[in-house]
């Protein structure tokens, strides 16, 4: 079925166009992004359940006006709008932005002069396919299903004390308007997380897995298998030891490969960082940053997951960029304003946390290409090392190319065989080109993961996905 576009947005579109026309009298460029995205979050566990409406990361209803004059872009975010009072709203926006300019004048602040965005005629109306809609979901039945999975997790072992399962689904509707452009899109994403908590011999631990897709709530049927996998991983963690710090051969599961992709050359090639001269990547275009086996794509079109849209929050159509081609860094990704400042084309990566937030260059789907090996061949090739599985968090340093990944566990490999010994948690650190340069085998698998959120610095949370195949590399573990 098609994800139907928002009736509310269709209703306010004429009023917003009137607002644009009114603001056009005072500014050289005016755009409006209007959003009406609805969804639900529910959770089940052994002790407590909940259902919350419109509380997912992408649930929102509101508008943001972007205006341009004298080299400066300014924005006004609001969520109360009366179509019959567009003229009054335009006046209110002008007045408050003038007050901001007065503060800038009083503080003798200089403007970072930027060119005007183009505004060529363009229309787009996209209602993407979905298997089911969050608004039409039988929430009672879904909650009962989640509770059943939670009960199965709890019953799987005497060491399990709780099994938390969450499910979120959002029907995203966005409309981008200027004097000449009218873009509208509607799609559904769903995601969920499963955390199993256990205690054994006084030691607490947790195992986590997620689900995601540009799909409806039917996605949550996949929890059936995930419960078993996660419960087993919890038991692995409960029996784990700490890793002896040092450098090891590693094999990363597709989820950990995705974390590396995201942290290594995801943030590092967001080109608003090039404008601020915050990224070493700007100096490495057409230079080697990884082994011949490393090819990496980034873009809303490169895979179908939670960050796969038709256009970004500045009205740039979705793209698919090859960032690294056989180890050579080719390009980064770019929002529209950073593109103007750098003299390049935007790639469809201008994203906001929601209508209340500024646009930054952000990742969408960041994926390593697959290769020719099998996971079994890769394990057999390891003399001494670990198969790293499950991710907790990551952090990058685009200026210095340091990387930190906190991985849930490592399965020991000695002489090509898994020994059954588990270490957890595992802190993987290193220098990005060393890590990518050490990649010596790549599996045939190709899987994306999008259950988490990505921040810029420590804020501006947006949905992204990442992944790829199993990778064999060398890394420092602690």
């Amino acid at each position: 079925m098609k994800a139907k576009f928002s009736e509310y947005l269709n209703t306010i579109a004429p009023g917003l166009k009137k607002l644009i026309a009114e603001l056009d009298k005072s500014f050289d460029y005016v755009s409006v992004l209007a959003t009406d995205s609805v969804g639900f979050t529910m959770s089940a566990s052994q002790k407590v359940k909940s259902i919350r409406g419109n509380s997912t990361l992408m649930s929102e209803r509101g508008n943001v006006v972007r205006v341009y004059k004298d080299g400066l872009y300014s924005e006004y975010s609001f969520n109360i709008f009366d179509c019959d009072k567009a003229v009054e709203m335009a006046d209110k926006i002008r007045k408050i932005l003038d007050r901001q300019l007065s503060v800038l004048k009083a503080t003798d602040s200089k403007i970072y002069n930027t060119k005007k965005l183009a505004d060529e005629k363009q229309e787009l109306f996209v209602e993407m396919e979905t298997d089911s809609m969050p608004e039409e979901t039988d929430l009672d039945a879904l909650l009962q299903k989640l509770q059943k999975f939670s009960d199965e997790g709890k019953a799987s072992s005497e060491y399990v004390i709780d099994c938390n399962i969450s499910a979120q689904s959002t029907h995203v509707c966005k409309m981008f308007l200027t004097a000449n452009r009218d873009l509208r899109q509607s799609y559904v994403i769903s995601e969920g997380g499963l955390s199993v908590i256990g205690v054994k011999n006084g030691k607490n631990d947790m195992a986590y897995n997620g689900l995601s897709g540009r799909k409806g709530p039917a996605l949550f049927d996949e929890y059936e298998e995930l419960v078993k996998k996660t419960c087993k991983e919890l038991l692995d963690n409960l029996d784990s030891e700490h890793v002896e710090p040092g450098e090891y051969e590693i094999i990363t599961t597709p989820e950990v490969s995705g974390l590396i992709a995201h942290e290594a050359f995801g943030h590092g090639v967001e080109m608003d960082m090039f404008v601020k001269k915050r990224a070493l990547g700007a100096e490495y275009i057409d230079k080697r940053v990884g082994s011949d086996m490393v090819t990496m794509h980034e873009g809303a079109k490169c895979v179908e997951d939670v960050a796969s849209y038709a256009f970004d929050d500045e009205g740039t159509l979705a793209g698919d960029v090859i960032e690294i081609d056989k180890g050579i860094l080719k390009t980064g990704v770019c929002d529209a304003l950073a593109a103007l400042r750098l003299g390049v084309e935007p790639t469809g990566n201008g994203k906001r946390e929601n209508f209340e937030h500024k646009v930054y260059t952000r990742m969408t789907n960041t994926m390593f290409d697959s290769g020719e090996s099998t996971k079994e061949e890769m394990i057999a090739s390891v003399k001494k090392g670990y198969l790293l599985s499950g991710m907790y968090s990551g952090m990058e340093d685009p200026k210095h190319w340091g990387i930190q990944c906190i991985v849930a566990r490592g399965y020991e490999i000695i002489d090509g065989k898994l020994t059954g010994k588990v270490v957890a948690p595992v802190v993987m650190t290193g220098y990005v080109p060393d890590l990518l340069g050490s990649i010596s085998m790549v599996s045939k698998d190709y899987v994306s993961f999008g259950s988490g959120a990505c921040g810029k610095g420590h804020k501006e949370w947006v949905k992204v996905s990442d992944g790829g195949p199993y990778l064999k590399a060398v890394a420092r573990l602690g």
Binding site: V48, K49, Y76, L97, L104, K110, Y112, Y392, T429, R476
Partner: protein, 424 residues
């Protein structure tokens, strides 16, 4: 809008309900170097409705919540209320009561324009040099007014400020350039404190240029003097949070020692209603409960669980509340006395994280000082890691304290036997 929702709830005899209506005016300025990249205004209202339904002769309380757009029509509100009342019957939790005690709050007002202007002026006064300067910064200044009203008779409105500056600092020499990242949260702009903090960051930046690889120390003594230490204290406080206890994720018991057999300084953790210029100073929490000062842990003995109404009711905790400010008492020795022997002073991590369930912590070292007698060497690379349940058995806290926004904590924490994965 909120009054209209209340009218509809009352007309339908909903068993219990609560509404939170928050109006925010935010001023934002984004700078690259000292040039304005963009200016923004946020003018928004968010209304969240919770509907409760008594089930199974009152033994069970169902609940469901939803944000209602301020543009919703009367018909849309009625539809939402009806849907939530139906959904509440699916969500069956043991019965609990909403807060009932009336709360009085002092009326205050804040001006985001003044706060934003003060931040711009403060940032212009940072002493930059050719080798250490500001790369970029973002200013966020808000005035918020939150009304909480419930079916039990609480109707309280509180205004509060919130602000944040994100700063990226560069330092460079002939060979390379590095950056350090900071996020300073506060109520309003404290110019002097901000300048002091950024000047410290600029010093760290210069030191980071001349680091050597972190030695593979194996197990070592680590001192943390930065805001990263608040992650450790946050974990300690969270272990006493009612939901963690009720769910069985924490085994700490009121009246018992949190770290049996500990030989270091004892932990005293206190909830504090107000700290100077904290971004989380509130008179009433988001569920309508009055906030007050209260010990959670005193001298390593757990004194009280704390937190949200539902789980507090289940645990029988009276007058519980959600608090955003915390104070940790200092130890017996001064900072100077604790800075002795061989130790690694870690001042910058990529991300210092603590697992909420296990207490395992880890962070990649971006800048640390390796103290070996009188010799101090700036180092970077590698990581620190360990288990707080083990580390807290022998931890030392300085007598002196330092405030990091909503945390007032010992100026340094000294930990023994921390695992160091070096790169040398």
């Amino acid at each position: 809008m909120t009054d209209k929702i209340i009218e509809i709830l009352k007309s339908r005899n909903i068993d219990a309900w609560e509404i939170t209506d928050t109006v925010t005016e935010g001023w934002e300025f984004y700078f690259i170097k000292q040039e304005l990249d963009q200016n923004r205004v946020r003018d928004v209202e968010h209304i969240v409705l919770n509907v409760y339904r008594k089930l199974e002769d009152g033994k069970i309380l169902g609940s469901a919540s939803q944000e209602i757009p301020p543009t919703a029509t009367e018909k849309e509100i009625e539809k939402t209320v009806d849907e939530l009342y139906e959904r509440a019957s699916f969500v069956k939790n043991p019965y609990y009561e909403l807060n009932k005690k009336k709360v009085e709050v002092e009326k205050r007002s804040f001006n985001p324009e003044e706060t934003a202007k003060a931040y711009i002026e403060a940032m212009q006064q940072i002493p930059e040099t050719s080798t250490a300067d500001i790369n970029s910064y973002e200013i966020f200044a808000e005035s918020c007014t939150r009304r909480y009203v419930n079916s039990e008779g609480i109707d309280v409105t509180e205004s509060y400020p919130n602000s944040m500056v994100e700063v990226v600092v560069n330092a460079r020499n002939d060979e390379h350039e590095i950056e350090l990242y900071r996020m300073y949260n506060a109520g309003t702009c404290d110019s002097e404190n901000l300048k002091k903090e950024i000047e410290e960051t600029l010093r760290y930046g210069k030191d980071r240029l001349v680091t050597k690889p972190t030695p593979a120390l194996g197990k070592a003594t680590v001192i943390i003097p930065s805001a990263d230490a608040t992650r450790i204290y946050d974990w300690i406080g969270t272990r006493m949070y009612v939901s963690m206890k009720y769910r069985g994720y924490s085994d700490w018991e009121v009246g018992k020692d949190i770290i049996p057999g500990a030989v270091g300084d004892k932990i005293s953790f206190k909830l504090v209603k107000e700290l100077p210029n904290s971004s989380l100073n509130r008179q009433v929490d988001k569920q309508g409960a009055a906030i007050r000062d209260m010990y959670v842990i005193k001298d390593n003995i757990a004194e009280s669980y704390w937190g949200e109404r539902q789980f507090a009711y289940y645990l029988g905790v009276e007058d519980s509340f959600i608090c955003g400010n915390y104070e940790v008492e200092g130890g017996s020795a001064t900072e100077a006395e604790l800075r002795c022997g061989q130790y690694l002073e870690a001042v910058e991590f990529s991300d210092f994280s603590v697992d909420p369930i296990t207490g395992d912590f880890a962070g990649e070292i971006r800048l640390a000082y390796y103290h070996d007698g009188d010799k101090v060497t700036p180092v970077s690379g590698g990581s620190v890691s360990g288990s707080l349940l083990e580390i807290l058995k022998n931890v030392k806290l300085s007598k002196e304290k330092r405030q990091f926004d909503n945390f007032l904590v010992p100026s340094i924490i000294k930990m023994e036997n921390v695992t160091i994965a070096g790169v040398e």
